[in-house]
Symmetry: C2
Subunit: 209 residues, 2 copies
């Protein structure tokens, strides 16, 4: 069991923290607003602690659970304090009118966030295709990951597995572009063909044999 640090206190942070605690890990929550972070930790219970915003997080895995629009400034606020950490980027950088993705062409939110990190820190894209309420409900869900550092990706895969999720590696960090598109696709499906956000994407393997 490990200590997992979570920056943020929204719906996704809550869903991920809940599963993380249920799996027996210790959660450290970190926020710009210390009283809000404390309230979040108190609500989580199970020994959840708060860290100091901008200082080195306790966990080797740090989940960046803030909106994409805030990710760059949060990473800048931590600076060298994130050195050596595995950063999980969960963001869906979609335009407010859902017309597309906001990172520059040929890049992704995860790659943009990676630019701001200190040496030795590695970004792994994960969780962005899972909607909070579905994640919170439990059950074995498929969790796609993308990243450039094999060891960091292996550690995230182990963490996801410990939460009862099935990690599915889709390749290097530039493939975060496809995961962010998949996030937008699922929002489109929720608003059109499915009519609900209560959906999850699942991969069937071994159909044609």
């Amino acid at each position: 069991m490990s200590t997992i640090s979570i920056i943020g206190a929204g719906g996704m942070a809550t869903a991920i923290a809940g599963r993380t605690i249920k799996a027996g890990h210790t959660v450290e929550v970190i926020g710009r607003d210390q009283s809000k972070a404390q309230a979040f930790a108190d609500k989580l219970g199970a020994g959840a602690t708060t860290g100091t915003y901008g200082a080195a997080p306790k966990g080797d895995i740090v989940i960046l659970a803030v909106p994409y629009g805030s990710a760059a400034s949060v990473v800048a606020d931590f600076g060298a304090a994130l050195g050596g950490k595995v950063i999980i980027d969960i963001t869906n950088p979609v335009a407010p009118d859902l017309s597309g993705l906001v990172p520059p062409s040929g890049s992704s939110g995860a790659q943009e966030t990676a630019r701001g990190l200190p040496a030795g820190a590695h970004v792994v894209k994960a969780f962005n295709t899972l909607f909070g309420p579905v994640l919170a409900k439990g059950g074995r869900l498929d969790a796609f990951i993308a990243g450039d550092d094999g060891e960091a990706k292996a550690r995230v895969a182990t963490f996801l597995g410990s939460l009862g999720l099935r990690p599915l590696d889709i390749g290097a960090l530039h493939m975060a572009q496809t995961l962010e598109s998949l996030g937008l696709l699922m929002i489109g499906l929720a608003k059109n063909g499915a009519g609900t956000f209560d959906i999850a994407m699942h991969v069937d393997i071994g159909l044609a044999r």
Copy 2:
């Protein structure tokens, strides 16, 4: 039962034609090389016919089952002959090194193809997230669709349903960008976490209730 026209004779054309015939539809195959098209029709059997390349296809639904690199020239060769047709674009416009998608930023293969069509023709993106062997095997698979014309999309959904697929509408034609990203994601998954192209993406609806 309808007549479905298919332009192309590759693996996806074969898989789609097979399911279409099995569903009781009549298939018309069309290709630049008439003898190749005839051989394809003969192999399909079940009353499959050949059409004339560049002339009006018999089917109201025309499946453009050629590589993305050929799609624009094929559409230009048909010109006004595609007027009033529902064109299903199945292409995965991925870079040869799988580093990304080749259509211009903010567009998709489907949107680029739509530019070349005559008035009254409507493009619906479909089939691009299904690998040929999995599609050929049969079984109820999820088939994502995107398109701007509601009636065209409804007709494609009915056609897909007749093949035993579950049509899932993800929105307007610009959402083809996300479907083409999903195609690339699945190729990435096949080459990384799954280790096989024998995979299909499935949506679970109603998990959190």
